[in-house]
């Protein structure tokens, strides 16, 4: 049987066996609706609140500042749109601003993909209602200076939203030191189930619900909670609390073994992202004069799962906008491949990937008219 190596943990992770165990009762005897007041409902509610408490403790925040959602995307929507709609309603600016009513300023990144807090400061206008940033970029893994940006936000009294989907449970996050008002985080990136995520909402942050219906989640997110998923999420966080620090060290060493191993054997390769301020398991590599998807397909045939940095959708290949924003030249950016490691990644897996990449890239370059005379 072909060896199988999964290096796409930034896309999703396998559910931890202990997490599955923690979820099972909520599919069976504790199936109740957590909003019901009878015993069945109370059992489900207990599972929900235990998970909420665990996650709140992990973040060092109050229980009622955590809202459960269906995924990172919904958390981001609730965080960003919720603040925007609230301001919209309060300021009644809809008519004067016209259309959607919002102006968005995009702040540039440097060659590592890092945002300069001074650029954020300069971009703030008197009518700025929100600053939002990804804690770490999912593609190149660069960790943004959220503490400094949070300080800028606080100085100007602007709410600060951070998408921590790629960092939550992988590196420490201090929502208080960083002055974060809203923090999106997800379960399936940290060995929990899909379809569950959370949004931290600092007490006093003014925002509107974007999904209406029942009174769930203290009226901030209508809809019956995914109790089994949330119980699993709580367990996943408990495990991260235990394993995160040691795993970060182990995975960082494997990540460097991968990029250094490939760099030593394959010419014309570059590592993207910040050399040190980077997610432990993320290695984004560009292979010059080779197309991303041909590498992904070639590695897939060897049982290796990585992700393409440039995506070909309906015949249109777009180089990654992240790499373009970082100033990576096109002939490099088109050959971007992301490897994201996780708790199950072994040193043997890394060596197998290095051994597979070298002949594949050599072969692809041999058939390519690009970069040859």
């Amino acid at each position: 049987m072909t060896r199988r190596v999964y290096l796409d943990h930034n896309a999703s992770t396998p559910v931890h066996p202990e997490v599955i165990e923690a979820m099972l009762p909520y599919f069976g005897e504790r199936f109740g609706n957590p909003s019901s007041i009878h015993g069945f409902g109370r059992e489900a509610r207990e599972g929900l609140e235990t998970a909420r408490e665990r996650i709140a403790n992990f973040l060092g925040v109050a229980k009622d500042e955590i809202v459960f959602t269906s995924g990172g995307t919904e958390s981001d929507n609730l965080g960003v749109r919720g603040v925007a709609i609230e301001h919209h309603a309060v300021l009644r600016t809809c008519e004067t601003l016209g259309g959607q009513g919002f102006a968005v300023t995009y702040v540039p990144v440097d060659e590592y993909g890092t945002v300069d807090p001074d650029d954020v400061r300069r971009a703030i206008r008197p009518d700025t209602i929100l600053i939002t940033i990804m804690h770490a970029n999912s593609e190149v893994g660069t960790i943004e200076p959220v503490e400094e940006i949070g300080r800028v936000a606080r100085e100007h009294g602007v709410p600060f939203h951070v998408d921590a989907v790629q960092t939550f449970g992988k590196i420490p996050i201090d929502v208080n030191a960083s002055g974060i008002n809203l923090l999106s985080f997800s379960s399936h990136k940290i060995y929990g189930p899909k379809g569950v995520a959370g949004l931290y909402i600092r007490k006093g942050t003014r925002m509107a619900a974007i999904q209406h219906g029942g009174e769930h989640e203290r009226r901030r997110r209508a809809g019956t909670e995914n109790v089994a998923g949330i119980a699993g999420f709580g367990k996943a966080v408990e495990i991260r609390e235990r394993d995160m620090a040691a795993e970060a060290i182990r995975v960082t060493a494997l990540r460097d073994r991968l990029s250094e191993g490939i760099g030593a054997r394959v010419p014309d390769v570059r590592v993207n992202g910040h050399p040190t301020r980077r997610l432990p398991g993320t290695a984004s590599l560009c292979f010059r004069h080779v197309e991303s998807e041909s590498i992904v397909l070639g590695l897939d045939l060897k049982g290796i799962g990585v992700s393409a940095g440039s995506a070909c959708t309906s015949g249109n290949v777009e180089p990654s906008y992240v790499l373009v924003a970082m100033g990576v030249p096109l002939d490099w950016a088109m050959g971007a491949v992301r490897c994201s490691l996780g708790r199950g990644t072994l040193a043997e897996d890394i060596d197998y990937v290095i051994d597979s990449v070298e002949p594949l890239v050599r072969k692809l370059r041999a058939v390519s008219p690009v970069g040859t005379a």
Binding site: H289, V290, E291, E293, S294, V296, L297, G298, L301, C312, T313, S314, G315, N316, V317, M334, K363, L364, A366, V367, S368, P369, V370, T372
Partner: protein, 123 residues
């Protein structure tokens, strides 16, 4: 994305890949929306293609289709290749997913361009 086993086989073991010294004709096909590029080299004897080489830059299917296209072109009368249909090229890998149909266009364009180049050189 699901690819045929024939396509995968060509991707794993591309036939006739590489450059040709002093070819009788060359032609290129390009799909500018995604930057895929195929270059074909032909050796022609008595109006028939006796040897083909190709180089390709692109996603896996483009490499595989170029390999299959090189087999398709070998031994064919040059006149045939002037009218080579992209569907015939696509069939040589048992079809392509909707999002990768362009691979057959790039390769068919390159082969037809090489055939035209041969005619041009003879005039």
């Amino acid at each position: 994305m699901v690819y045929s086993s024939r396509l995968i086989e060509h991707f794993r073991n591309p036939r006739n890949a590489g450059m040709m010294r002093n070819p009788d004709a060359t032609g290129e096909g390009e799909y500018d929306k995604c930057g895929d590029l195929a270059r074909f080299y032909l050796r022609v004897r008595d109006g028939r293609v006796v040897d083909v080489r190709f180089q390709t830059y692109g996603c896996g299917p483009t490499i595989a289709v170029a390999s299959a296209g090189s087999e398709l072109a070998t031994g064919r009368p040059l006149d045939d290749l002037l009218r080579l249909d992209r569907d015939e090229v696509e069939q040589a890998v048992d079809g392509l997913p909707e999002e990768r149909k362009h691979a057959a266009d790039v390769v068919a364009d390159a082969i037809r361009a090489a055939a035209r180049d041969y005619v041009r050189r003879r005039v």
